[in-house]
Amino acid sequence: MRQGEKLTSHLDWPLLITYFLFLIMGMATVYSTALDPDHPNLFDYSQKYGKQVVWLGVSLFLGLMVFLIDSTIYRKFAVPIYLSTLVLLIIVLFMPPINGARAWLQLGGFGIQPAEFAKTGTALLLARYISSLNIKQQNLNSVLVANAIMVVPMILILLQPDAGTFVVFTSFLFVMYREGLTYDPLVLKLVNMIPGIKFKQTWVGTHFIPIMFAIVFLCIVTLLLSNNTITFSFLPGVSIPGFFGVILSLVVFCLIAFIFLRFISTKRERRRITTVIIIAFVLSASIASSVNYLFQGLKKHQKDRIELFLGLREDPNGEDYNRNRAMAAVGSGGLLGKGYTNASVATIESNHVPESETDFIFCPFAEEWGFIGTFILIVLYMFMFLRIIMIAERQRSRFNRVYAYSVVMILFYHLAVNIGMNIGFAPVIGIPLPFFSYGGSSMMSFSMLMFILLKLDSQRSHVLQ
């Protein structure tokens, strides 16, 4: 730290304020969900909210520590940090299982989930590795090393097993994509093995990751909607066959994308954008059609599995129990919600939605605050993500940028999967909602991610790493 510079100078206030807003909203929701009328004191340590207050305090203390330490140490110690999280991930595998997973490390009275901290470690090491690469070094080797940094903790996490965090680790693929480390060399190598073909670059290989995700997403949405007829309660008599609805949404999305991209593109790029969007539309429409066609051709039990996975099939008391209860809680919130502490489906006491204070904390929030609340929540998250991307893009150091992208993608994944499973868009895999869910490990690890980012950003002007 330079002489005479205050601790808070160059601090990104919008991001910090958003973070604190989430802490307050999250704390309030944990309180209302876990509220025991006999122990209404927020600081009652016997209650979950009392514990969460402690976790908040610890997290903020750790944040302060992060701020006091010079940001260069994260680059310097990236390898030891990464390795120590790996060691913890290995140790945890020898712990007694809790709820069928060896995910917890008992330290005194506290349980810690090393997987939460492995995200930070991986983000730091990935940032360090990518920043050490020459910009021209987009070879097979660097792709493999970067992937290895990601895959090793993933394997350890899968052994616990912890499907949620496993999925979250794929968020690093987007980070690599942003930095140019895609599967292009791999795809090139494969394609060039075909005699007579000698490509220097394949478009598919370059954009492999977003394309893959877009296809998965498209498939799920097609399956979700194609079997149904879309009706509108405010437009009685109007109904759209599901598959037509998918194509219609595709048209709408392409138009929106087209208009959006025309705004930000140069004149020269416009023709290319038009071509890309047309190709994208034709491709996605044909993918949607073939998914639809294939699905109709499946055997009944295969269909059942898929329908159950997607929540198309009502099985309210069986495999679909959690999702059904969660969706009922969210949907019953209405426009304005039932009011604070008035949730009836998603509270610990009623226990219709299991884990309503941790993985399903979006339920009580949505039930109490209605669409107004969930809208504000998602907008606030979107704001936070775009703000972090903005921060990432203003970094002079590639280390900082890679790290910032890691943070935003991890948070985004958590949001997308966590809320997705509350609204029937994602399978039920337990991962916390950042800054909301009850639990020390996730609160500390998200706070650490955030404070390291804020610290790196605040020192962006005088460190060139």
């Binding site: 099939r313 969706m327 426009l335 039932k338 998602i378 979107m382 993500f385 775009l386 991307i389 893009e393």
Partner: protein, 621 residues
């Protein structure tokens, strides 16, 4: 290579997901109601509080129908843990097998539905997480032996319910009874839930909507284990159960009790009405039953088959639904019509010509009053012939047609040949034939007075219900008008129904009633009168005006009937006594009526001899 443009891919990706989620949440939370309904299904118990039904009081303020607390033994299968069937059966005093049988029966009672998600297979409606009644409607004594042991059988608990209780074992056919609603009634009226009771007969049925009160609804948040946690939204949507209003009847329960006692061992009925109001004072249908026998589904299951199979039909409300030829009491009406039509005067005399129709031995009646006193059949042939055949048309058939239809109108104005708009169910209209009726039998213009003459003396096609017979006495007592007979004086703070405040007038001028009333007095008080036994021997000199009737019965012994009102100057009670197979009306029906009058007007009966004679008589074979 510069990869900066790829940030847009990521930005678009994030924003797209955000937008899709917002749209989805808007759809789920604001547009689509089904999740709200689902949440209610999951987390809210809509608890109906069924209020006790309105209590019923008699005209003196005696509570005659009240509510008593009963107990249902409830269970929730999911909360039953390792039920020790043997111990449980012992507590209930049942056999082990019957416990198992009962469980199976409960599942069966709930019926089945077709599951559209499972190839429309039959699935039971029974749900193991819902409460069901294991034993219904136990008395305090019964539950007291079970309740102390219930803590040993988790999943079982007691629930309070309210059922009818009758202070007197009388008036069963007035009050009616309650029983469980059936599927159709639930579909028709969403007020009812499975297991609710509904009025099945009598006042309970007619005033069902008033008596049942308003159900209260409590919305309770329940946990996944079906525990009740707290009122939903602090109870702002809850409603309070309101008991039905108190009912005040015109019935005098002591008179009713006395009437039922007098009619013991006899088939028939007594109807007593207050002429000035149309309020029914007593409505005895004999044989009857103790209304307490039909309280609760267990009692009904036990007693209903017996009552419905009884050949004397105790469940049949004879005063309202039995249609009898009125016999000689019909002569009162013939006299009135004759006077109004001007075809006779009070001084008209006709010889007792037994060649026309049989009669008992009495001197010929020189005037109308004596004709009533003697109940002379030939006299009324002559009177009715004059009414029907007034010589307005040359053809005797066409003349009879005009005459009969005129006569029919008069009869209708007495409330005959039609159902009263009374507060009872199962009323019958009786029968007053008109020309169309006989045309159907004999053909148009193929009949005249001589064809249908038996209607003159209240035989043949003419049929009246005892309620209509009693109402005739009211009309005469009032000299020309009546209120529709009814049971209920007032409901809560409101009076009786508006249709009971409408005065119905007969087509007879009030002056024509005087000779009739005098004739009725002579029936009782002048020697040679047919109803001398209706005299009340007390110093208060209550003058009874009555008319005997003996209804010819081709199936067996004649029916005895007596209609009367008293006291003569200020009538307070009009009464009809109809005793099946008791023979001559003056012998049994008249003294019974006098006892009823004495009981009502003086609250006690002095002539114990007379009372004993009636109490001991039996005409059931």
């Amino acid at each position: 290579m510069n990869f900066d443009a790829r940030k847009y891919v990521i930005i678009v990706f994030i924003i797209t997901v955000g937008l899709i989620y917002i749209v989805r949440l808007f759809f789920m939370q604001v547009i689509d109601d089904s999740w709200t309904l689902r949440a209610q299904e999951i987390a809210e118990k809509r608890k109906q509080i069924v209020p006790p039904r309105g209590a019923i009081f008699d005209r003196k303020g005696v509570k005659v129908v009240s509510n008593r607390t009963y107990y249902n033994l409830m269970f929730i299968e999911d909360e039953i843990k390792h039920l020790d069937t043997a111990a449980f059966a012992k507590v209930l005093g049942w056999s082990r097998d019957s416990v198992a049988i009962r469980f199976k029966a409960i599942v069966k009672e709930q019926g089945t539905y077709r599951d559209k998600n499972d190839n429309y297979r039959k699935k039971p409606n029974y749900q193991s997480d819902r409460p069901y009644a294991f034993i219904k409607e136990m008395t305090l004594e019964e539950i007291a032996t079970i309740a102390p042991h219930l803590d040993k059988f988790p999943g079982f608990y007691e629930e309070i319910t309210s059922m009818r209780s009758y202070t007197y074992p009388n008036g069963a056919n007035i009050f009616g009874y309650l029983s469980e609603v059936n599927e159709e009634e639930i579909k028709e009226d969403h007020f009812y839930r499975r297991g609710d009771n509904i009025g099945r007969a009598g006042i309970e049925r007619f005033y069902e909507k008033e008596l049942r009160g308003q159900k209260g609804i409590r919305y309770i948040v329940t946990s996944a284990r079906n525990n009740e946690l707290k009122p939903y939204m602090d109870g702002i949507y809850d409603t309070i159960a309101k008991q039905g209003p108190n009912f005040r009847l015109g019935i005098d329960i002591l008179l009713q009790e006395y009437g039922e006692r007098l009619m013991n061992g006899k088939r028939g009925c007594i109807v007593a009405i207050e002429p000035s109001t149309g309020e029914i004072l007593a409505l005895v249908s004999s044989p009857t039953y103790d209304p307490n026998l039909m309280v609760g589904n267990r009692n009904i299951a036990k007693n209903y088959p017996k009552l419905i199979l009884d050949k004397d039909m105790p469940l049949f409300p004879r005063p309202l639904a039995a249609e009898y030829p009125p016999g000689s009491i019909f002569k009162l009406l013939q006299s009135l019509i004759g006077l109004q039509e001007g075809v006779i005067t009070p001084e008209s005399g006709f010889p007792c010509n037994k060649g026309l129709v049989g009669c008992h031995n009495h001197p010929s009646a020189g005037n109308l009053m004596d004709a009533i006193k003697f109940s002379c059949n030939p006299y009324y042939y002559a009177v009715t012939r004059r009414i029907l055949q007034q010589g307005k048309k040359k053809s005797v058939f066409a003349d009879a047609e005009i005459g009969l239809n005129k006569w029919h109108q008069y009869m209708m104005s007495f409330g005959l040949g039609q159902k009263f708009d009374a507060d009872a169910t199962g009323l019958r209209p009786g029968l007053i034939p008109n020309s169309a009726y006989y045309d159907k039998w004999y053909g148009h213009l193929r009949w005249a007075f001589s064809t249908i003459r038996s209607i003159s003396i209240g035989q043949g096609e003419v049929k009246l219900t005892p309620l209509q017979m009693a109402n005739i006495a009211c009309i005469i007592a009032n000299k020309g008008w009546y209120y529709t007979p009814h049971f209920v004086k007032s409901i809560g703070n409101k009076g009786s129904l508006p249709q009971f405040k409408v005065k119905h007038k007969s087509m007879i001028d009030s002056k024509h009633y005087e000779p009739i009333i005098e004739g009725m007095r002579r029936v009782v008080y002048v020697s040679g009168g047919t109803g001398g036994r209706a005299k009340i021997n007390n110093e208060e000199k209550i003058i009874v005006c009555g008319k005997t009737g003996t209804v010819q019965n081709p199936q067996g012994e004649d029916h005895a009937v007596f209609t009367c009102f008293a006291p003569m100057d200020k009538p307070k009670i009009a009464i009809v006594v109809f005793i099946e197979n008791a023979g001559f009306g003056g012998t049994w029906a008249a003294p019974t009526a006098s006892l009823m009058i004495e009981k009502y007007l003086t609250r006690k009966v002095k002539d114990k001899e007379k009372e004993k004679r009636i109490l001991e008589a039996s005409f059931k074979n």
